[in-house]
Symmetry: C2
Subunit: 183 residues, 2 copies
DNA sequence: AAGGGGCATTAACTTAGGTTAATTAGGGGC
DNA sequence: GCCCCTAATTAACCTAAGTTAATGCCCCTT
């Protein structure tokens, strides 16, 4: 992860990419629109969300300082992003066209390794999430998130957490009540 | 995908890797054990399964001819595989130590691209599965799998499909009844 | 043709999440 | 301090999935 940040840092410098500021509620990129940039989050917190035709919202992920936001589908396959990216906290962000990242990494082959490694890290995270949806109950997913990501847990609303866990805010409230009763 | 198969094909030839035969029920690799090989499936059908301490089984994926089976965690991060691989149909398989794949791809830098591309394909598949668990009901996942993967749908038991969709076989049977009634 | 084994279906009951709406709690602004 | 706005909780009811077990179906064997 660190090596990838190094790479991005170099790209940003060479291209004089500015640091952008966003407020809570601002949109970094939209659902259904091609977004060929990666967003390097220097500070703040964002969420990736799917909005269904019926208006229902689901949270794919939370990303915070030092994370990289973006849509794989857009960046790699040049398709519209299936999800949007919303700011939760005020954010400082560097937006980097993926073409620039690629361009530079073509010239320096050892950076392929860095890119590959980053993909592997991403994949490992996705494996974990897949496992949790397949094998764990909502209650177990809640406990796991609370203990595994305390720094994010503290910074999001309960409604947002519920939509990340794949349940409704009402259900999450009930789970908490249940846990309190047991303990 | 095709370019990755080319790469694997070369590795197999150069190392005289034999084609292995498995019967239904055979285990390609175990859960909880380090498995540093990739399994190139020439023919047949396998499933990747999590077995929980209480005996409950969940199906992570089905892989068939031309797919590559293996555990990312084991192959990349040298950890025990969190899941096992079981044969469903008789299989012809070439087992390839990942170290050999790496070794050879070190010498031919353009293969880094192939490797990266393969990871991206994998990630795209995982994104889709994540989306389905987060945003779709079991019933919708069933319909999506049936129409999206008819060639696999035909070859697995209903129980296996249910455990892949994240529900019990009884629930899947009910879903089918429900759908028949509606149509 | 009869029996047996393995799945799938059905049934009956329990549990937990979805939905909608009312209520409560907490924080910020004035 | 009071009001308002928002978020969280609670309630009541509905629906769907989990669980266990019985039944039915199909195919294979003998």
């Amino acid at each position: 992860m660190d090596k990838y940040q190094q790479l991005l840092s170099n790209v940003a410098e060479r291209n004089n990419l500015p640091t952008l500021s966003y407020k809570p509620g601002d949109i970094l990129f939209h659902q259904g629109v091609l977004e060929p940039r990666l967003f390097w989050i220097k500070s703040g917190l964002v969420k990736l969300v799917f909005i269904q035709p019926d208006g229902k919202e689901f949270v794919k992920a939370f990303l915070a300082e030092n994370d990289i936001s973006g849509s794989l589908m857009s960046v790699i396959f040049e398709k519209p992003s299936p999800y949007a990216c919303y700011c939760i906290e005020p954010c400082e962000v560097i937006a980097m066209p993926y073409s620039k990242v690629r361009e530079w990494s073509e010239k320096t082959p050892q950076l392929k390794d860095v890119e590959l490694e980053y993909m592997q890290q991403l994949t490992a995270r996705k494996e974990e999430r897949e496992y949790q949806f397949l094998c764990l109950t909502p209650e177990e997913r809640y406990k796991s998130f609370k203990s595994g990501y305390p720094h994010i847990f503290k910074r999001i609303s309960q409604a947002e957490l519920a939509l990340f866990l794949g349940i409704t805010p009402v259900a999450l409230s009930r789970i908490k009540t249940r846990l309190k009763a047991t303990a």
